[in-house]
């Protein structure tokens, strides 16, 4: 397309879907320096990393480049393991469009070091779930991982 040519019809616009008259809102989001390394470790090694602020005695999970308390740059990377504590949980009965889910899903906030990861809880039923119980990450097979939160398939209770 040059300076003398213009799209003059919406239907010719490749981001306009005339069949349902929608315009997708899409953009890229950069995970950042710390996010890049966090996801790389998930993907390559099945490890969950945090960064520690020695001054504040806090280990952030997911890893962060800076301490939000004291503003120090963080480069003390710590493998925090793949087992955490169930901080809270809920059963989601609704889909994103507010329709009823055919199968409700268990969602959890999992405490790892001083941070929380939000993820699905699997291999258990609601009767077995208690705040404070240990839960562990179940990773996808290495070949299926793509450097995202979803490289972890879900968390499951640790059977003691």
């Amino acid at each position: 397309m040059g300076i003398l040519e213009r799209i003059t019809k919406n239907v010719d616009n490749k981001y306009w879907y005339p069949e349902n008259d929608t315009f997708p809102v899409k953009n890229r989001y950069t995970a950042g320096v710390a996010g890049q390394k966090f996801f790389q470790e998930l993907k390559d090694n099945g490890k969950i990393y945090g960064t520690t602020c020695a001054a504040c005695k806090l280990t952030f999970v997911p890893a962060k480049l800076f301490c939000e308390q004291c503003f120090a740059e963080l480069d003390d990377w710590v493998d925090v393991g793949t087992t955490g504590i169930l901080w809270s949980w809920t059963i989601a009965y609704k889909n994103k469009d507010d329709s009823k889910k055919e199968t409700p899903t268990l969602l959890a906030a999992i405490r790892l070091a001083d941070g929380l990861l939000v993820h699905w809880l699997g291999e258990c039923s609601p009767e077995d779930v208690e705040i404070g119980m240990p839960v562990t990450a179940v990773f996808k097979d290495p070949g299926e991982r793509e450097g995202s939160l979803l490289d972890i398939g879900h968390f499951k209770p640790v059977i003691s």
């Binding site: 989001y29 809270s88 809920t90 059963i91 009965y93 507010d98 906030a109 929380l116």
Partner: protein, 387 residues
């Protein structure tokens, strides 16, 4: 505060669950017209500056501040738009007056929620793109996580939360602007559809359309516009981390509310809020939020709100009435205008214009707003009819 700022005008459009017949700008125009009439018929040309609260995503437009001036009478005037709740806007508008350079400032907020077809998608876009959004879940699951943690930490029960809904919907029956008034009991709430357990359908407020406009004036000018100025005594606002991963304390406790209230009380010279403040209109987006906020606002101690509620302390006739208007559960959820609905009730009560729900002998009131899921932003305002 070093100088005093008064609320001298109040106007609102009729609140409705849908409003296909008017645009949001026409709705604001209605509220602005009524506000200026309420302030003795002031002409917008005499107003020095305007503060408008809105959120781009909610309006289906972008750069919302460009859509502000005409409906407020603010064309070619200083305009500031706040992407936040109306009470954050109140803080801004008050600061305009506190500069000493501006005597009359308009404040507006609105909700046209019925125009938003997929609100959960909007909220989803406010969640972290790398750590939350990939789950593709309805973001209201965060409310389920927060409620569960709050109940766990404080020993509050689902029944006590249900009682909040019953109280507020009952209060709303006496408020002609309320769309969701009903006489229901705890059982109705407990038996309503589960959404994000323990959160149920009747634990969650429902959308409402409406616009609210206030006029603020300096101490020197206040009595030119009203016989009953309502004085802003204290303001505070705070935002906790936007990241869910850093909300260890913030998942079960409303830390933002604690900090916002501390600042507002300090400014107002309040040491014992439950004694020195006579009633409160505060965020009840979800039933548990009213109890959590009461505790964070230091009206009672942690874990105590549910018990005091059972004793009737927060009822219309109780020692410390809470959400006499009906709150969001009874009136409806006005998005960025929620804070101004709470402020509106405080002003009406302090003026003695609250009709059938008028409280006796109230002089000082508290308004508190939260911006809702997934935010951890709150704003508090202490107001008084006493100079």
């Amino acid at each position: 505060m070093s100088k005093k700022v008064a609320i001298v005008g109040l106007g609102y459009s009729s609140f409705r669950t849908t409003s296909q017949d008017v645009s949001y700008r026409e709705m604001i125009f209605e509220a602005a017209t009524k506000c200026y009439e309420d302030a003795g018929g002031v002409h917008p040309q005499d107003i020095d500056a305007f503060v408008a609260c809105s959120e781009d995503f909610m309006e289906g437009i972008s750069i919302a501040d460009e859509y502000v001036p005409d409906q407020l009478g603010a064309v070619l005037k200083p305009v500031q738009s706040i992407t936040g709740d109306g009470l954050q806007g109140l803080a801004s508008a008050a600061m305009h007056v506190l500069t000493g350079e501006l005597d009359l400032v308009t404040l507006s907020a609105f909700s046209k929620a019925s125009n938003v077809l997929h609100y959960a998608n909007v909220v989803s876009y406010a969640c972290d793109p790398t750590y939350v959004r990939p789950l593709k879940e309805n973001p209201y699951f965060i409310a389920g996580l927060e409620m569960n943690r709050y109940l766990y930490e404080t020993g509050t029960t689902e029944e006590q939360c249900a009682m909040v809904t019953a109280k507020n919907k009952g209060n709303a029956l006496f408020n002609p602007t309320a769309a969701y008034g009903a006489k229901i009991d705890v059982k109705d709430v407990l038996q309503s559809d589960p959404l994000f357990s323990p959160l149920k359908y009747l634990d969650k407020s429902q959308d409402l359309d409406g616009a609210i406009v206030f006029l603020l004036a300096s101490e020197e000018k206040a009595y030119q516009y009203t016989d009953k100025p309502i004085w802003i005594k204290g303001l505070g606002w705070a935002t906790d981390t936007p990241n869910l991963d850093n909300r260890l304390d913030g998942m079960g406790d409303a830390v933002y509310a604690r900090l916002a209230a501390q600042k507002a009380y300090e400014m107002a010279g309040i040491t014992y809020p439950r004694k020195e403040i006579h009633f409160a209109e505060l965020d009840d987006t979800f039933s548990f939020k009213e109890l959590q906020h009461l505790e964070a606002l230091n009206i009672c101690s942690r874990g105590e709100a549910g018990k005091l509620l059972e004793q009737g302390v927060f009822s219309k006739n109780g020692d410390f009435p809470v959400n006499v208007s009906g709150g969001s559960l009874g009136v409806g959820y006005l998005h960025e205008a929620n804070g101004l609905q709470r402020l509106m009730e405080v002003v009406l009560q302090l003026r003695g214009e609250a009709g059938k729900r008028q409280l006796d002998d109230v002089e000082t009131g508290l308004a508190f707003a939260w911006r809702g899921i997934p935010t951890a932003t709150g704003a508090a305002a202490v107001l008084s009819s006493r100079y």
